[in-house]
């Protein structure tokens, strides 16, 4: 909340300063801002709707169930869950901590967090619209591979 306020004040201050220096440029900036906002809106509404459906249909117990097994296959499932789901950080970290307390291994929890943060399947269409298919595909593929390595290393080191 505090962060939002700081951001709002910053934007308002910059806008005011810009307006006083050059009205024409400020108008152009606001037009550009409006256009990019409207361009992003459809995809964003879709993503936000999808997050809601996910939170309703995939209850936290289902994700927690994945953490029961420590087999390579179990880890793969966890990494896929991390890649596909889009959970805001303020939900993800308490959730991950509760998995640890419930007895999940560090490797499993670390892999979940790294894939969650480094791979975004749900936001991929939006990423494609900004940077193209090849960029999005490779960035997420590299992210997935590195997330697995980081998770595994963390498991070994913190065990």
């Amino acid at each position: 909340m505090l962060f939002n306020l700081v951001l709002d004040l910053l934007a308002a201050g910059a806008l005011l300063y810009s307006f006083r220096r050059d009205r024409q440029k400020t108008k152009k900036a606001l037009q550009a801002a409006g256009n990019s906002f409207l361009n992003m809106l459809p995809a964003m509404l879709g993503i936000i709707g999808l997050i809601g459906v996910m939170l309703a249909l995939v209850p936290q117990e289902v994700i927690a169930g994945l953490f029961g097994s420590n087999s390579p296959f179990g880890m793969l499932l966890i990494s896929l869950a991390g890649a596909v789901t889009l959970i805001p950080a303020f939900i993800a970290f308490p959730l991950a901590a509760s998995f640890l307390q419930a007895g999940a291994s560090i490797t499993a929890v670390a892999i979940f967090i790294t894939t969650l943060l480094m791979v975004g399947i749900v936001t991929a269409p939006l990423e494609v619209s900004f940077f193209g298919r090849k960029f999005t595909l490779w960035r997420n593929a590299l992210g997935f591979a590195l997330a697995l390595v980081i998770g595994a290393l963390m498991g070994v080191i913190l065990q």
Binding site: A14, G46, L50, F130, W138, I150, M154, L158
Partner: protein
């Protein structure tokens, strides 16, 4: 037709919401309520970000972006990309238009990817939350391992896409 395609995911999700609300009211309410909560949060958050990106677009000359994070900016450019992104907050997709605006102004592709990677994984507000819930050793170790991974991804992606790739990305905007 184009509009229909743009809203395809949203319409699909809305249909699922209506179906759930009808047949599984409890789940439907959860789905719709979480979406609306999240939407409210995003609508508070996005306008200032877009206004700042718009102002960056008209006021910051290409040379400044090029000099600081452009193709010849070297290690300083990498450090700057990381530093700016750690101060960010909000989900990664808010970073997309910011990185796209930087690319358009002459930012090096590797630096834009590093910026996005940092935004996604090690921004400070998120790190604070991680330390609180996962503890300092977990968070610091993840930070130490993620930083080189993010930088490596930037250079690797630039190699994979090639010089033409950077232009193609830039031209989309």
């Amino acid at each position: 037709m184009k509009t229909v395609k743009k809203y395809a995911l949203f319409m699909l999700v809305a249909a699922v919401d209506i179906f759930l609300r009808w047949h599984y009211p409890a789940k439907g309410v959860v789905a719709i309520k979480s979406s609306l909560d999240y939407l409210g949060e995003m609508l508070l958050f996005l306008p200032p970000v877009f206004v700042l990106v718009g102002l960056l677009d008209v006021w910051v000359p290409r040379q400044i972006v090029e000099r600081n994070v452009g193709p010849e900016s070297g290690a300083r450019g990498v450090a700057l990309s990381i530093l700016v992104a750690t101060a960010a907050a909000g989900p990664l997709y808010v970073g997309f238009p910011v990185a796209a605006a930087l690319l358009k102004k002459g930012c090096r592709l590797a630096n834009a990817v590093i910026f996005l990677g940092t935004w996604a994984t090690i921004k400070i507000p998120m790190l604070m939350m991680e330390i609180k819930f996962m503890g300092l050793p977990f968070s610091l170790l993840r930070l130490a391992l993620t930083l080189p991974a993010v930088i490596g991804t930037g250079y690797l992606l630039e190699m994979i896409l090639g010089p033409k790739g950077a232009e193609a990305v830039e031209e989309r905007r």
